[in-house]
Every structure is written in C-alpha cells, then in structure tokens.
Symmetry: C2
Subunit: 370 residues, 2 copies
C-alpha cells in the first residue's frame, strides 16, 4: 500500500457557518493506494474527535498504526488495491491542519481564543475544498465513525451529488444533551485549570503530563466510549494492589486504565483544539440551515448506510434508528444495521471484525451499480 502525507495550503477564504472567515488555512492529509484514471475510486475517510489524518499504516518508530488500520489496506475491507483512500485532519484539530494554535495572519501569533468556532459543516466544506484542489469533484464513498460519521452525513446533506454512498458508524443526526453533558466535563475541567490561563497557556507549563483539565475531561469521555458491559469484562472489580483496598487513593483497575489513557492523551492533544472540536460536536445538527431534519434529509441523493452498536452509550442506536426511519419515510436509498457489541461507542474502532464485511459489501454495491 502506498501512503503519502501532504499538506495543502489554501489562500482563498473559507466562509464559516458562523459568518466568520478562515483565511489562509492548511489541511494535512494522507492518501492510501492510487487514484484511478477516471478518478472514480476515491473513498474519503473522516476522523473522530481525537483522531487525525493518519488512518492507516505504521509510521517508522511508532508502536501503533493508524486508527483504522484494521479496516484500510491492501486486501482489507477498504481495499487500497482498489480504492484511493483520503483522510484529512479536520480544521480545528491539532495535527497539522489549521487550528486554534496555528499562527494567525498577519501577526503570526497563535489564534487561541480568537480562532473562529468551527462546525461539522465547516469541516466538511474544508474537505470539499481539499478534494476540489486535487481535481476530485465526485467520490465513491465517504465513511467515518462518531464525529467522522457526522461529517459523512453532513456531506450527504450539504453536497447531495458529491458521493455515491455514505457510511456513518456510531453517530447521530444531532448531538443529544446526554453527549453534550459528557463534553461539559471537559469544557469546565479545561477552562478552570489555572494553567489554561483563558487560552493563553504556555505548553511548557504542562509538557510532561499534559494539562490536568484535559486529562480529567478525557476520563468522562472514556466513560462514554466504553459501556458497563465492556468495563465489566475488561476490569470487573479488580484492584491494582489488593492490600491497598483501604488506602484512600488505592485504585481499581478501571481507575488505572482511566489514568493511563487520559494522561497519555493529554500529552499529545492540544486543550484549545479539544474545546473547539467538542464545540463542533455539540453544535452538530443536520437540520440546521434546512428548517427541519425532514427537509435536510430530503436533499440526500447518495445511499446512506448507517451502522450503530448496541452498547453505544454516547450515540445510542435509537438515534441512528431515528435517522433510518426518516430515510425510509422519504423513500431514500439507505441501510441500517445495529451491531451486537458490548464494546460501547469504541466498537467502531476496535471491533472491526464485526462490521468489516458489511463495509466491504457497501463499497462493492457502489462498484456494481456503475
């Protein structure tokens, strides 16, 4: 599989949903496989909150491959011998695309809280610009999970003729208050961290362990990504050191997991990017700008494939079902699968074996309908 990582620089303004303008901006992206002659084999992959453009392959020196490596590659469900896969880092994120810590033109000082609010619609628009700049004006499929699934759906509504098929996993049609409440923990924990300094932080102040507020917020995030059943299976009531049971700060295994994962995350992720992306997730609502969800969905031309996970405690299967019913009512091409899984929201990242064949078939269906 051929992997390339590139950065595209855009000098024309990106008109944002807020009315503000992002100008200039960069988008970092990765491609896997080769674009065919008639440019008909493009699969656009959209990443989730903490993800990046590095969806597949192993960078030299890294322990872990890209976040959907089990799904994307030669002979895998998203077969890079057939498809040209593109994954870009969302604007607002912190892995190379323009975000709140990027230099603002012309001062070259980081935007910080001057960065404009970004929405899922804006992320989608920026990716559309990227593809245009690559001469790609139509794609085979757009796929993503969680916030990536929101983007895939938003593509289907905003640019009805752009993709032949949309595959959204573990997402929703509009973020519900339950998910917003989980994000609230992160927002408050980051804002109230004294080292956050209202966005004017010095990263050297928390170089070693990351910002505490981000780590704390991320614990809440991890709860919503797992499920009671997956925690039961993974940790049960196991204790890190049994003889520490009566020590106030003695820990259960589930606590150790939370500490470990969240401090690792806080080291690599930028607190302002986290706030901006969480804002994009909170404000996600397919209906906005179209009057109603019904009107938004009426626009759809692509086949919409929805995959939810039974144990998902962040975006519940009922939410995807609601969307599926709307698609049915509007006589749109769609499919809906609820995968039986105990892994919770994280299933879209870890239980690939449960849905890879579905994805393979969904892609094949487009190939065969040509």
């Amino acid at each position: 599989m051929r992997i390339e990582t590139k950065k595209a620089h855009f000098t024309s303004p990106l008109y944002l949903e807020s009315g503000r303008i992002l100008e200039p901006y960069d988008i970092v992206y990765e491609t896997y496989g080769e674009l065919n002659k008639d440019k008909s084999n493009v699969v656009l992959v959209c990443h989730a909150l903490s993800g990046s453009h590095h969806a597949a392959g192993l960078y030299p020196g890294d322990r872990k491959p890209g976040w959907w490596d089990k799904l994307i590659g030669d002979g895998k469900a998203i077969d890079t011998r057939k498809y040209f896969v593109i994954c870009s880092n969302s604007i607002g994120s912190c892995f190379g695309s323009t975000g709140p810590m990027s230099p603002q033109y012309p001062s070259q000082e980081p935007y910080r809280l001057n960065f404009p609010v970004i929405t899922i619609k804006d992320m989608v628009k920026a990716q559309k610009q990227l593809l245009s700049s690559l001469g790609i004006h139509e794609v085979h499929t757009i796929i993503g999970g969680s916030m990536g699934g929101m983007q895939a759906l938003q593509f289907g509504v905003d640019y009805p003729h752009f993709a032949k098929s949309i595959i959204a996993l573990a997402a929703t049609y509009a973020t519900r208050p339950w998910a917003i409440a989980f994000n609230k923990v992160a927002i408050e924990a980051i804002r109230r961290d004294p080292r956050f300094k209202n966005g004017n932080y010095n990263k050297d102040d928390f170089k070693e362990h990351g910002l505490d507020g981000l780590a704390i917020g991320r614990i809440a995030g991890h709860i919503s990504y797992l499920s009671p059943a997956s925690m039961e299976k993974k940790f049960g009531r196991a204790y890190v050191a049994t003889d520490g049971l009566f020590e106030l700060f003695g820990r259960y295994e589930v606590e150790r997991y939370m500490e470990y994962n969240t401090s690792n995350f806080a080291r690599i992720f930028d607190p302002l990017s986290y706030l901006y992306i969480v804002k994009a997730i909170n404000t996600f609502n397919l209906a906005r700008g179209y009057g109603s969800l019904y009107d938004a969905i009426s626009r759809v031309e692509a086949k919409i494939n929805l995959i939810s996970f039974k144990g998902d405690m962040l975006f519940f299967p009922q939410e995807m079902e609601h969307l599926a019913k709307m698609l049915q009512r509007l006589n749109k091409k769609y499919s809906y699968y609820e995968i039986d899984s105990d892994y919770g929201h994280d299933a879209f990242l870890v239980e690939i074996e449960k849905f890879e064949d579905l994805i393979r078939d969904m892609l094949k269906e487009v190939d065969e309908s040509k």
Copy 2:
C-alpha cells in the same frame, strides 16, 4: 410531625473494616414521629452520597425541605403518625457526624488525609451503635436509595436479626466499574485542583464558589444521576442564548443546569468528605468478608425488598435483578420491582409517586406479620 435533631457522642472506639479505629466520634441524627412503647415502630432511613440526616421537614428559613420529604411525614408512605423514623448523617460526611474535617483527638487539628477510610460496613456499624445507645436493638424497617440502599442491604447481611425488613432502591450488590469510573472523574478533579493542596486546603480559598475540582467531578456525577431520556425531556437541544450558538463558550441548557447545580453543591459540600464517601461507594461489596455473595446473602433473615428504576444509568436494574435472583435461589423472603421511569438514578429522589404505594405496602406487610 415532631422533628428533633440531635448529636450523639461516642467515646468507645469504632473498629473499622480497615483495621483502624475511629475514636471518639459523633453522629448527628434527626427523628420524626414518636417511638412507641415496645419500640417496635422504628424505621431507619439511610442517605445517599450527598444527603444528610435532614430527610424530611422544612427548617425555618430553608427553601427546600429534607431530601425525602415527599415520602416521610404524617400520612405519607412512611407515616410518622405510625412510625418513629431515624435518619443519621453518615460518618465520613460533612453535616455534623465525624468526618475528615473533624478535629482529631487529642490535637484537635482536622484529620484531613489522616482520616481512616470508611466503608459502607463501617457506616452501618456506626448507625447500629447509635441505635443501641438509644436503647433500640431491633428495627421495623431499614430503607435507603443509592448509597442508602447499599447501607440497608449491608445491614441485612451484617445484622440478620436487626431489621424485619429492608428496602433498597436504586442500589447494587457491589459497585461495578462503570460507577467507579464516574467517581474517578471526581477523585482526579479534586486531587488535581491546586487549591486542594493534598487535603490541606483553606476553605476561605474557595468560599464563594466552592472547589472547582468538586464542581467538575459533580458534573460527571449528575450525568450518571440523569438519563438520556430525562435530559432529552428536560433540555433537548435548547440553547441558553440562541445568538450565542457560534460563541465558543455559549451554552446549551443542559450545560447551564450542570453549572448551576454543581457550583451550588461545591459551595456546601466538603471536598475531603466527597473523596471519603466516594471511596466507601467504590469499595462497597456485600460479599467482602463472607467469601462470596452467595454466602453473604445466605445470612439474611429480613425480607429484602428491591426497587430498581428502568432508566438508572448508575446502578442498572440488572444489578438489582442479580441480587433478586440470588435471594430467590437461596429461598429468602424478597420482592423485586423495576419501576418504569425516565428519570434515571435520580428517580428514587424525584419520582416518589411511582413507588410510594409500594413502600407503604412493604411497611404494612411487616405490621401485619406481627
């Protein structure tokens, strides 16, 4: 209804599950109604994490009555014309009973992190001492929700002949990792708050708004007390100020609710007490000390009445069901009801009308079996 608030002082040691000793200690308690001649009408009420001995009645000047006021009173389900109701503040808490900010003998300095770890078993033992000191060696019923339910169940196991009936609502038989993970947010948020100072805080430092870490941890708590459905009903996607949608820190109604409730709470609750009580909840396990849950439940003589709530996202109905099955298997007297509710865990505090008749009947059953 006659209400009395009293403080009992104990100079004999309380031997804790940890092997440590609490000595001396105070227990603040409230009583409602009158003790009958043969002392056969005592209903012991146990409070939850954030509760206190003030379970019913309205203090002069207060806006809100006691936390179970809808349930306890003259003519109410726990009828104070018939029953003598006692509710004490748990040791470890911060409403008058001995806790981490109480003066340690003989220095009179607050214990702070020198306070011993308290378990549910210890809370129960202390209450048992309180009742003994009042000349009460047997009670009619012990009832509680959430952590109060844990205490009620622990009473049933540790002192099989003490109560004729036990009523546990929205509780579990052993705290599952899902609940421990929610508590982890609070533990980390409090510990990492610079003003916490490893327990050596000066309350004046956060007099006005409470400790941020406690407020942040409490947001996670509130998520687990509500449910997706109750949030949907209460807040939906309503925004505090619609024209602030594209402001980074613009808020959804659910966010405002979280801010309001948690900062109110942080003002009145002590951060160390929170850590100690959360520890008691995390370590709750009916089986501990008895080899297995089977062996623990084998001891039970009282009738065990279990009430769970369908939408409870903290202690799921399946957990109470597990206990009910064990009781059935062991041929114990028990009842199990799953209440259809969208209110989540909070239902035990707010949807009294859904279960008050059940409680009335459960109490009556004991009266009639005399």
